[in-house]
Symmetry: C2
Subunit: 193 residues, 2 copies
DNA sequence: CATTCTTCTTGATTTGAATCAAGAAATTAA
DNA sequence: TTAATTTCTTGATTCAAATCAAGAAGAATG
């Protein structure tokens, strides 16, 4: 069953009682998605919160001039959605897409609100998880305009070696906010020393 | 008393029952800070969550090369802290500073966790508030590397006219991620048409 | 009112990354 | 294994914003 991963990984990070965890499980359903499929797109509403059992998703933003900027990548045991849209039933400007064939669990709004307001350890887990994202975004924003492309790449290489191997370079470039050409030149330069 | 503003503004945004709101009030204390004072600095721990009754705070990040990047400005009725540090008792890399003499309410960790896990409307309020910040940060990150300085300034002028009047331009520049010189030139150009 | 400090403006110069344009390499599909 | 598509590399050129440098304007202070 789909519960296996949540039991083994997610559960270990949240101090659920058996009872609390038993309440949580049936609120989720399972979904398989193919590479390149979207969970939601700009202009639509994020109807669910997703938990990744297996695979890789990216959240991205399309700018006025049509450029894609990757906001983040999430892999196994990560959570994805866009809660502003999800909670208010308003269209989002962000996109969520599978970069690989992926196995997901998802939860709808009603169940999610129930869970998050009635299971205290989950409340705190979600607040922390959001705040982690928040903090990461703040730092990246602070860095985005000051770091050189090379510094950005070196940071990524150091902090996300697994993603570097797993994803095509043009997605990394769209994450770092540089062109694929520049990324290619940086890598060449680094190899040479 | 300090309760006045919370009653009039914050309360109107959250659907508290009288009982719930009565529980919340005594968890806060009052604090006056002078212009330029820090509530916390990089390397220290964010001990409190702050509510601004009057004044203006900025959260900012100092990069390796010593550049300051303003993450956000908050004014009357805004909430400020750095919850990763606050909840985990770990040093933050961010700074929170008063840009004007300010009147604040603050709440400590124990009280905050109690409130947020025991007052459901507050739970949802905080999750939403954080998610709004989150969403804003994502969009800014998506824009930061694509928009020209002029586009960034025009957006700020449109979206934050009050802050534009209230703050010195070099703080705006440090928010937009451009130099004060560039900002000055943009403004000159715009005035001329 | 004079002085000091803060904030903003202007000019000259440099530079690093984007853009434009092909083509090479690697993957995937037929 | 060949063809087709995707991904990555390399070169030439352009340009917008940073940097460096100085001084003007404005605000705060004694």
């Amino acid at each position: 069953m789909t519960e296996s991963l949540m039991l083994s990984e997610f559960r270990s990070r949240v101090e659920f009682s058996d009872k609390e965890f038993a309440k949580l499980i049936p609120l989720f359903e399972h979904l398989s998605v193919k590479k390149n499929e979207h969970l939601f797109q700009a202009g639509s509403i994020a109807k669910y919160v997703y938990f990744i059992e297996k695979g890789c998703l990216r959240q991205y933003y399309i700018n006025k001039n049509g450029d894609e900027r990757n906001i983040y990548f999430k892999t196994e045991n990560g959570w994805c959605s866009e809660l502003v849209s999800f909670l208010n039933n308003t269209p989002t400007e962000l996109n969520l897409q599978a970069l690989e064939d992926s196995e997901l669990l998802y939860i709808n709004q009603k169940n999610w609100i129930y869970a998050v307001t009635h299971i205290p350890p989950l409340t705190m887990y979600f607040i922390r998880a959001q705040q982690d994202t928040n903090y990461m975004l703040k730092k990246r924003l602070g860095e985005a305009t000051v770091e050189t492309p090379e510094e950005k790449y070196l940071r990524f290489e150091k902090e996300e070696p697994a993603l570097l191997k797993r994803l095509p370079l043009y997605h990394i470039a769209a994450y770092l906010g540089i062109t694929p050409e520049t990324l290619s030149r940086i890598r060449k330069k680094i190899v040479k020393g």
